[in-house]
């Protein structure tokens, strides 16, 4: 089970959007994942395998361990797909090892 957070300032607007996109992609790849929309204030980066957010917020997230996917263009699903597939293969590697 992959755990992913989408993040924005209030956790209602663009993070909700990113959540929908990420869920569509993950479903298409038939990956079992849980995607949560969160606001930046209450985010615990360590609780997730990956975080998807805009660059301005990526700079505010203090986490070395969690992979952060920076979305400069939030509607760029192709880029999001590439990045998510990276995350999927990485976590798969980790879980088997």
């Amino acid at each position: 089970m992959l755990k992913i957070a989408t993040v924005c300032g209030a956790g209602v607007g663009s993070s909700m959007m990113l959540k929908v996109f990420a869920e569509q992609i993950l479903e298409h790849e038939s990956v079992d994942a849980d995607v949560t929309a969160s606001d930046i204030s209450s985010l615990d980066p360590a609780a997730y395998d990956a975080i998807i957010t805009a660059s301005a917020f990526a700079d505010l997230i203090d986490s070395k361990a969690t992979r952060i996917i920076r979305m400069d263009n939030m509607l760029d699903k192709t880029y999001l797909r590439e990045q998510l597939i990276h995350v999927i293969s990485e976590t798969a590697g980790r879980n088997e090892g």
């Binding site: 956790g11 663009s14 909700m16 959540k19 929309a37 204030s41 209450s42 505010l60 979305m71 509607l75």
Partner: protein, 426 residues
């Protein structure tokens, strides 16, 4: 028959159950499994209760402002009854609000399917609170029975959703990153005005984004932080003007103004966080359903999305627009107090941030710096004066509108209220 009566009397008159039903339908549309449906529905219902509870408590946290403002501007206002403020938030409109929210979306979809306005409004948090505004105006402004009220409300909401997306669409070509979608957001009238004004005043004005703000101002984009800070400062300024000693004896229960202001700011941050968390929990399941329905029914439609999608391209405009709208909001508040307007109004901060940011972006798109500043200043004035007109019209929805009334609420809300009043006279 008894069963049907039970449903009508005990289920449909509890707004939270209606929200639950809407979520169940939403999750069924997405073909979720039964355990996911149970968990989504319960979380969504708790989210809805968080919104109503948060709105009530926030109204309470702001009560001490009233006697202080009354003292500063030297007029007597009737002090609101605290229990009343607590009891009545959203009282009696929740059920119609939830149904208008669901049917309004259906009408938006139908319009997209059968007319040339192929726009699907996907910002559910906007349409949800707009449904509340329409419900409140109809409920407290007319004697309509429940069923016609829901039908009229849903048509109004559906048209609002479709046409705001439609008139923003042509403006999207002027902004970076605006390809392939339009905005479905309650700042639409502010955007329209700002882009228009930009054309008028902005000849030869430089792009606002050439101005680079220091990166550490980014923390203002963090809702909780920005709101708590601004509210604390607002309380500090007001308590200073009202007179520290007077405040300690009359408004703050014996606290000195520094700790009192800081506590009030924190309280404000707390309840806003509760409300926003509630919105997130409630809509987490409904929004994906909206997307699913839209893609099935009208795959070729243009989606109306939320405004923060544009913020990454315009970091300077976001901060400048917020501050400009806040300045004009505070000026407007002082003007209202000076003329002794019977309702105390203060800038609604979340709307000030979002609509200020987006009006600056669109003002900049047609009129550079001058356009951005004029547009977002104007937006702040619409917010504050519109809110002042709106609050007396919406009964128990008032606490929610004090914190969430964005430009469209402040502009179209009083207009609709006025129309209803005139119709009532006929």
């Amino acid at each position: 028959m008894a069963f049907i009566l039970y449903i009508i009397n005990y289920i449909f008159n509890q707004a939270v159950f209606v929200i639950g039903l809407v979520i169940i339908i939403g999750t069924l549309v997405q073909k979720k499994s039964w355990n996911q449906i149970i968990s989504s529905t319960l979380k969504g219902m708790i989210g809805f209760l968080m919104i109503t509870t948060g709105a009530q408590s926030l109204g309470m946290a702001l009560l001490p402002l009233q006697p202080m403002l009354a003292r500063i501007f030297n007029f007597s206002i009737s002090m609101p009854n605290i229990e009343k403020a607590q009891m009545q938030s959203m009282e009696g409109i929740g059920t119609e609000m939830a149904l208008i929210f669901a049917f309004g979306f259906a009408i938006n979809i139908l319009l997209a399917r059968f007319t040339r306005f192929k726009y699907v409004h996907l910002s559910a948090h906007v349409s949800f609170f707009y449904a509340g505004l329409i419900t409140a105006l109809l409920k407290f402004g007319t004697d309509l029975p429940t069923i016609p009220l829901i039908i009229i409300g849903a048509v109004l909401l559906g048209c609002y959703m479709t046409f705001t997306c439609a008139y923003i669409a042509p403006l999207m070509k002027n902004v970076k990153g605006g390809k392939g979608f339009t905005l479905g957001h309650s700042s639409s009238i502010g955007i329209l005005i700002s882009a228009g004004i930009g054309k008028l005043v902005g000849r030869g004005s430089k792009d606002l984004e050439d101005l680079k703000l220091p990166k550490n101002l980014n923390f203002l984009r963090e809702m909780t932080t920005a709101l708590t800070l601004v509210m604390t400062l607002l309380f500090l300024v007001i308590t200073l003007i009202a007179g520290p000693e007077w405040v300690t004896t009359h408004a703050s229960n014996g606290r000195d103004i520094v700790s009192f202001s800081f506590l009030s700011g924190l309280q404000f941050g707390l309840w806003i966080t509760v409300i926003i968390t509630g919105v997130r929990m409630m809509l987490s399941e409904i929004i994906p359903a909206f997307h699913g329905v839209a893609e099935k029914v009208i795959p070729n439609a243009t989606p109306g999305l939320d405004i923060p999608l544009l913020f990454p391209y315009y970091p300077t405009s976001v901060i400048v627009g917020f501050l400009m709208s806040l300045v004009s909001g505070l000026i407007g508040m002082s003007i209202l107090d000076l003329i002794h307007y019977p309702v105390v109004v203060f800038p609604a901060l979340i709307p000030t941030f979002f609509t200020g940011a987006i009006t600056a972006i669109f003002g900049n798109s047609t009129g550079g710096r001058r356009g951005a500043i004029t547009g977002s200043l104007l937006n702040g004035f619409i917010l504050i004066f519109g809110q002042a007109f709106l609050l007396p019209m919406i009964g128990t929805y008032e606490p929610v509108m004090r914190i969430l009334s964005e430009t469209d609420y402040c502009f179209y809300g009083p207009l609709l209220g006025l129309v209803l009043k005139l119709m009532g006279m006929i």
